[in-house]
């Protein structure tokens, strides 16, 4: 082939030992890329099989959410991950795109709920503390709808009750929310048996709707006649028996809550239906007051109802059998006239115990029949005045003689009860007359005179005042001195009198007839009178014989 073999060294190079040709049909090295391809393929297949369903959840805020990091957990087990966070086109909320793993696809149905689990304090308990360290995650509550869904609206707060807890929901209507919030407790005989799920304002804004959940088996105690009331707060009552403090648990004092109770006799009645609506009363007392059958009616009046307030009584011969719940004004387009539909609630059980027993057994039927009969006999509602001074009105029920025939319109909602115009109009007329008379009085002049009188009176009073002041300044000190002196004089006088009394006592002794002085005196006086007699004799003698003074007494001329 070449001239290489002719080189000198080539002779020293040994020949290779030849061997029959072997056939290498397959090179084993190709197994390696095949294996690699298989591995790659299996990974691809696996990732295709494992690929999650992409879902979108909208939240009001993306607080605590992070793309690629925030997990979706069902019962604290991860079932997916947030892939993307975006702002919705109208910028009103956040759209979370997440991927849910294959084994959790069953959860993606219409009523499944999503919410962001954060640390929060509500309803007396603290939840989600772990998220402070580990970051928020999206919680899932599995729905039961058969309908699949892949876009959801996230809840702003965790649902109070997850769907797999047995129990039932009820709807309460209240005038105001009080201190209730989602997750506020619901008590039955002071035992916590449920929670408030949500609170919302009615669309019309006339009240609030509270949804509550009562766990099984306590939900069976909710009957159609059950009453609910706000359990929050402290009921302090003072009576002859002392101070009585009535509260629910401390939790409800702090956070509010709802209590309910069913009248004892009604516990055997069938349960209230699912989602049944109840009124929510402000206090227990109010609730027990209403723990009876309530029949709403509407009374249409054509007269003014000024003075009739919501809560006014419906009265049957002095017994309250209902109350006014709402007052409206309606325009009657055909008659071009205003009418006032007044909604009332009857407590028909108060009409008679007999009726109550019937109601327990047979529902509203006998009540209707009874009312129809009563109305046929002239039973009507009218507006009556409770007090002329305050103008308070109430609704009176009674039989009205010669009432035009009418019947209860059961078809309207609430049923319309016949009314008669009340005595109010006449009353108003007489009131008007009185008012006119009062108007005609010469009030102006009277007032002028009175004003004058008052002015002069005021002047007199002023001078009197001055006088008094002067007296006060001048007289009083003198008077005081005089009084002191007088007091002293009186003292002296008292002493003098005492002495005088002593003296008089002495004198008394002296002057008494048996007293020796008296006797002596009398004797002396007698002596004195004898002396006087002899003195007179002497006098007479001397008159006749003045010379006797010089010559002495002459012997009698005999």
């Amino acid at each position: 082939m070449t001239d290489v073999s002719s080189t000198p060294e080539s002779s020293e190079i040994p020949d290779a030992v030849s061997e029959p040709r072997r056939r290498f049909s397959v090179q084993l090295v190709w197994i390696i890329p095949i294996v690699a391809a298989l591995i790659g393929l299996s990974i691809a297949v696996k990732s295709f099989m494992d690929r999650g369903q992409t879902i979108t959840i909208t939240f009001k805020t993306g607080e605590g959410l992070e793309a690629g990091k925030t997990k979706i957990k069902y019962k604290d087990v991860q079932i997916g991950e947030v892939k993307e966070l975006a702002i919705s086109s109208d910028r009103s909320h956040v759209v979370v795109t997440a991927e849910v793993s294959r084994d959790a696809w069953g959860l993606l149905v219409k009523d499944t709920r999503f919410w962001v689990v954060r640390a929060r304090i509500s309803g007396g308990n603290v939840t989600g503390l772990g998220t402070l360290l580990g970051g928020s995650y999206i919680g899932v509550d599995a729905g039961s709808s058969p309908e699949e869904e892949d876009s959801f609206t996230g809840l702003e707060a965790p649902p109070a009750v997850s769907m797999d807890v047995p129990g039932r929901q009820f709807v309460l209507h209240a005038a105001d929310i009080g201190s209730l919030d989602a997750a506020s407790p619901v008590f039955y005989r002071r035992m916590q048996v449920g929670q408030v799920i949500s609170t919302e304002l009615d669309p019309a804004g006339t009240g609030v709707t509270v949804r509550i959940f009562i766990r099984a088996p306590f939900d069976q105690y909710v009957k159609p006649s059950t009453t609910f009331w706000h359990a929050s707060g402290i009921d302090l009552s003072l009576s002859a028996s002392g101070v009585k403090l009535n509260t629910e648990s401390m939790v409800s004092i702090l956070l509010g809550g709802i209590s309910f109770q069913t009248p004892e006799g009604l516990l055997k009645v069938a349960q209230a239906p699912l989602q049944a609506a109840f009124p929510l009363f402000a206090t227990r007392d109010e609730a027990t007051k209403h723990a009876e059958m309530v029949a709403p009616f509407v009374l249409v009046f054509r007269e003014s109802v000024r003075g009739l307030a919501v809560g006014a009584q419906v009265d049957l011969r002095g017994v309250t059998v209902g109350e006014v719940t709402k007052i409206d004004v309606a325009l009657d387009p055909q008659r071009t006239e205003f009418s006032v539909p007044v909604q009332v609630q009857f407590y028909p059980e108060r009409l008679s115990t007999q009726l109550r027993n019937q109601a327990l057994q047979g529902g509203p039927r006998p009540f209707r029949e009874l009312l129809d009969t009563l109305v046929a006999h002239g039973f009507r509602a009218e507006i009556k005045s409770g007090s002329l001074l305050t103008g308070q009105l109430y609704i009176g029920l009674d039989f009205v003689a010669k009432a035009p025939p009418a019947r209860i319109d059961w078809s309207s909602d609430p049923p319309r009860f016949p009314t008669v115009p009340g005595s109010m109009e006449q009353l108003q007329k007489s009131l008007m007359r009185i008012a006119k008379k009062i108007e005609n009085l010469p009030l102006q002049e009277l007032a002028g005179d009175a004003g004058k009188t008052i002015r002069s009176l005021e002047a007199s009073l002023k001078s009197a005042d001055q006088l008094l002041k002067g007296m006060d300044a001048k007289l009083v000190p003198e008077a005081r001195a005089v009084l002191t002196e007088a007091r002293q004089s009186l003292e002296d006088l008292r002493k003098t009198l005492a002495e005088a009394r002593n003296t008089l006592g002495g004198a008394n002794e002296v002057l008494s007839s048996e007293a020796p002085v008296q006797m002596d005196l009398r004797e002396t006086l007698r002596e004195v009178s004898r002396a006087a007699q002899s003195l007179r004799v002497l006098g007479d003698y001397l008159e006749q014989h003045p010379e006797s003074l010089i010559r002495g007494k002459r012997e009698d001329r005999k």
Partner: protein, 212 residues
């Protein structure tokens, strides 16, 4: 350098791979043994191009999952991350470790890719008996061989961390399936480079003048 290229193969001489004894052998005459040690004689590495292709294709296939699958899972009681190579690089970049991010990116993404491309280039050129820049291609081959093992850096880091950081719920590091794929890519490219016989680059120049 200039002159006539003379190769052993061109003179029907063959060196035994085991004892390095040069013996006279015409490959056309069929397989042969070394007269001294009895090993099978090969003029070039047997099936070099085919094996290299096989390994290279396997490496290409595994390069995809190596980059897509999770290479490392780090979990602590406050967070849990799964990182692919690229997400790890991005994370490093975002947290400010730019240098490390660049190093990891080059060592783990660029170099394996360049290796794959280089080997493909070499194989294609050899199969086409290309005469294009044989020296540069030889240098490229040497670089591929040299740099190959450094791509295992990632794997070392992951395996070291996975072995060391096992603090229960406090912190754990686990190697993900991507690490296996990535390791396989590196090993396969290294094997492919070893299978490649650089002498094949020069075979088209047998009996010719080389002037460069």
């Amino acid at each position: 350098m200039s002159g006539k290229a003379v190769t052993a193969a061109g003179r029907d001489l063959c060196s035994c791979h085991v004892c390095n004894l040069v013996s006279r052998w015409q490959p056309s005459a069929g397989p042969a043994y070394c007269p001294r040690c009895g090993a099978t004689l090969h003029m070039r590495k047997p099936g070099s191009v085919a094996r290299c292709w096989a390994l290279l294709i396997a490496a290409y296939i595994l390069y995809v999952p190596a980059n897509l699958l999770v290479i490392m899972e780090t979990g602590s009681f406050i967070s849990y991350r799964k990182d692919t190579i690229v997400s790890g690089v991005v994370h490093l970049w975002q947290t400010g470790s730019w240098m490390i991010a660049v190093i990891v990116f080059i060592a783990s993404v660029i170099i394996p890719l360049l290796k794959l491309i280089s080997l493909t280039l070499l194989l294609v050129s050899v199969q086409r008996r290309s005469r294009w820049r044989p020296k540069q291609r030889t240098r490229l081959y040497r670089m591929v061989e040299l740099v190959g093992r450094w791509s295992m850096l990632d794997i070392y880091v992951v395996t070291l961390l996975a072995a060391l950081v096992q603090l229960g719920s406090m912190a754990t590091v686990k190697a993900g399936p991507g690490a296996v794929a990535f390791g396989a890519v590196v090993v396969l490219t290294m094997l492919a480079a070893m299978q490649f016989d650089p002498r094949l680059i020069w075979d088209p120049f047998q009996n010719e003048e080389i002037n460069d």
